[in-house]
Symmetry: C2
Subunit: 545 residues, 2 copies
């Protein structure tokens, strides 16, 4: 490509493609139509969702799998619909590029009342300054390429969303781009060396070290190095809810999920009695710490994140997760004897009890044996997440949720992003009826692009997480016949499930039906909660009033 | 009520009720559950929507009819989903109170990572500062009642959205409220008198004055005074798109809609050749001015708004629409002779042509005769709006749209707000298939609360407004069988409409079926546009590239 023959829009597309992006999610509008035309003519495929919210969630899921995602929308009515999804991407570290069309620079002169304008022309930019790590308005051809590079580099470096506003009269302006490549920051060898030596000694002296795997291992693609560290040292490993599947949950050194006081008791004891707790990329959130019931002794902890590393009570500001983990792999860590550690009970084949209403606990028991290496589990917020937390995911990275920001309605649109990024896997979506009613119609987008998620609607006619906290008619959800949606969409298969046998039969039929999506409407008792949810809401409920 | 026996939450509810609010729209979450319980026990009815976006749009529509609306949601995942609907309410002057739950003041100490938090605890507040006219966080019992009064007064005074954040540990704190009532600003009699005298002389000297009615007459409930002014003076009246139905469009002095160069030619000529143009509450937006093709001579204009009044080229900063209009009614304005003015052609009974595919133009011809005094028309953005602009609305105030901010997906949820505010009317919703797929499932909320809108889906398999501007596969919308939705929802009636006769039959059946919603899936040719849309996109399309 000759550098002088590229337009601003094309350069943006070029850089996105170069960074691994192959799909962009969104809905067009007149301020972004010109850029959509450029996208259509590029190697990046546009995925039209039903609503911008769906596009935002899909792009977030895509970014987690591929290292970059993009949502492309029009000004105001498009951009301001992805505020919540961008907030989730910020909170949970997902590198989504929000590309918004805008009125042309010339159109904005004199500050006229153009459609889709809220207050001032920079209102949308100011909103996104609160939700992104870098922002730019491409209103100057002289700096456009550098601005694109700066903002995309920030998304990739910090694994957080960024905002690019593209006035429509700039899209086709030709520029001579300043190609730059991301320069990794110079590692200051001093603190790095000191931190590693200290950690090495502390780990080698420990009798019962434990690794807690956090979400940043997934976001930075470091899960394979985690596995190497575990196997090199024979140190057992747990993970947090948000970090779930940072290692295969059927790995012999994996002891199960740590959720503070909400953990299984043997796991809690093992972790909290450890004399060396190695936290790798963990966010210290309420949901990851069992609503702060976790009892981890900082004086025995090594805590590495993408922002800094701490050992006991002191901090190494310049030492980051990735380098620290790679350093540990090279460090002189002794290999330990195999000791007795907690283990999840072995999977037992599920035998449906005839004429028995399906219950949450049994449903998840069955699901655990249903999972194989080709299934990617996506759990929405609610019991879909809390119950799923305890089932073991066969392969690393193949579980996704919004287990910190906890936005309802993430899972169905996320399945679009996951399957487009990983076409050989089949998404298994766990979603409550309340969450489904927010964004579940994005299953139409699955139909449009010939994707085939299996969607299990945990239909308990309400917001089940709230019922045990404080109940009222406001926790009720209106009944839909979810299994009839294939008739509305002219695609997919629907299943009504009331009993264990029906669930078994529907799962098997769904496994066999590869041509499109399957939706299982699983009718649960409104007050049937998983034991995990019950423990969680016992603690959460105390804070409600 | 004894003033010392009220909690902060109850006081907020008390003031909302006192201001005319009877319904609040939203979805609960743990940070707002305590307040939901208080709402449930109050005289304000909670309306649960499927998604927060639907609640935001419904509250906006409700606020336009009743003078105040409320959307009540949880922190982060709820609040940040109503950013776009609040932006619309700001741009189009609708007094919506956004009430967001939040972590307790005590929980926020030490800045922990609580679920639903984005970056800092004030991130959401900072976002809403961009979109509202007043904001408060009720974190101090000593000032809470005054803060509630200040913010609600601002909503009512400016007809714009406001933001109230309620930390959950404040909900049940008892306070001694400082009751205050809104003090109307002292009118400075000087500028007011001068402006009125000048206007009076200018109008009386004019040969062909014309009144242009704008949206603020609707928002401030001044439409009846407009009608009085018109009938007192015999001055003909037009309105803008956003001001549509500020006066009955079957009033003998109504000449039809003015849209600049996109108007019917005889209307355009009449308005633009006027020697005294009286603009009342008009927003000078691109869509109201025919994409700035309007040619209104400021040197012949009197322009009153809620913010100021201008006559010719000078401005009276302290003179506002309401006072000015009431002043005009008392002024010494001469009554004019009846003259020849443009008139819409008389309604002709619709006779379906057998075996003829329905076309956009014919569809709206038929609809015009279908409207009666009990129908409230809500038009979504797109041809649903542009074509509807030219059909005459029988009664004042009974047309609603998003004709400036132009957010797709407003109409279906808006119908909830309209019918709850005006239970004797039946909403007729006009919505494109693209817009329906964003929020149309809120028809489930209509079913839940036994509302009965008639929803006409203009199904042209795409974003019809964009096709004539710049076409591509990104303008396509995946086909749904909208008429099958009653099977999913266990309520309502669906109709497949392909021909004129089927449309006629479906409309009649819908009129007879009062028990629930009706949805008409009207299959249109993808390239069948109304003449109004064609004119609009000819002008808009030039700006796309």
């Amino acid at each position: 490509m000759k550098p002088t023959e590229i337009t601003i829009g094309e350069y943006l597309i070029h850089r996105l493609y170069q960074s691994g992006l192959r799909h962009a999610f969104g809905i067009p509008g007149d301020y972004v139509l010109g850029f959509y035309k450029q996208l259509e003519e590029s190697q990046i495929k546009i995925i039209n969702t039903c609503d911008e919210q769906g596009a935002g969630f899909a792009a977030t899921a895509y970014s987690r799998v591929r290292g970059l995602g993009a949502v492309c929308i029009t000004y105001g009515v498009g951009g301001l619909k992805v505020v919540n999804t961008t907030a989730q991407a910020y909170a949970e570290e997902s590198p989504v590029v929000v590309i918004s069309g805008a009125p042309g620079v010339k159109e904005q002169l004199g500050n006229p009342l153009l459609h889709h304008k809220v207050k001032n022309f920079d209102t949308q930019l100011k909103v996104f300054e609160q939700l992104t790590v870098a922002q730019t308005v491409l209103d100057n051809p002289a700096t456009a390429s550098q601005e694109i590079n700066r903002v995309l580099d920030a998304a990739i470096c910090y694994r957080r969303p960024v905002y690019i506003e593209l006035p429509r009269d700039m899209v086709a302006i030709k520029i001579t781009p300043h190609e730059t490549t991301l320069q990794p920051p110079d590692v200051d060898k001093g603190p790095f060396k000191e931190a590693l030596l200290e950690a090495e000694a502390m780990i080698n002296q420990a009798k019962q070290p434990i690794i807690i795997a956090g979400v940043e291992l997934l976001r930075y693609g470091m899960h394979q190095f985690l596995q190497k560290l575990v196997e090199k040292t024979n140190i057992p490993v747990t993970s947090t809810l948000l970090g779930k599947s940072a290692i295969s949950e059927r790995h012999p050194l994996y002891i199960g999920l740590y959720k503070g006081g909400l953990s299984q008791e043997n796991i809690r004891q093992y972790v909290e009695s450890s004399d060396c707790i190695i936290l790798l990329g963990v966010l210290l959130t309420d949901l990851d710490l069992g609503i702060f019931t976790a009892n981890l002794d900082q004086g025995k902890s090594i805590y590495a994140t993408s922002e800094k590393t701490s050992i006991r009570y002191h901090t190494y500001p310049g030492v980051y997760l990735n380098g620290f983990l790679l350093g540990l792999l090279k460090a002189n860590l002794q290999r330990r004897e195999t000791t007795e550690i907690p283990h999840a009970p072995a999977l037992t084949p599920f035998q449906p009890v005839p004429n028995t209403k399906i219950r949450v606990e049994r449903l998840f028991q069955r699901l655990e044996t249903f999972l194989d290496d080709h299934t990617f589990v996506i759990a929405d917020t609610g019991d879909a997440l809390f119950a799923a937390a305890d089932i073991s995911i066969p392969r690393a990275t193949e579980f996704m949720s919004s287990a910190y920001y906890a936005s309802l309605g993430f899972a169905v649109p996320a399945s679009l992003g996951v399957q487009l990024a990983l076409p050989t896997l089949r998404p298994l979506v766990l979603v409550g009826d309340g969450a489904f009613q927010m964004t579940g119609m994005e299953v139409a987008t699955a139909a449009r692009y010939h994707l085939n998620p299996i969607i299990i609607v945990l239909n308990n006619l309400g917001y089940g997480t709230e019922r045990p906290m404080l109940d009222g008619s406001f926790n009720e959800v209106y009944p839909w016949q979810y299994a009839r949606l294939p008739e509305v969409l002219g695609a997919g298969k629907g299943f009504d499930v009331q009993t264990e046998e029906e669930f078994e039969a529907a799962l098997e039929a769904a496994r066999d039906y590869q041509e499109g999506f399957c939706i299982l409407d699983v009718r649960l008792d409104p007050y049937d909660f998983s034991p995990a949810l019950r423990r969680m809401t016992n603690v959460l409920g105390k804070r409600v009033k």
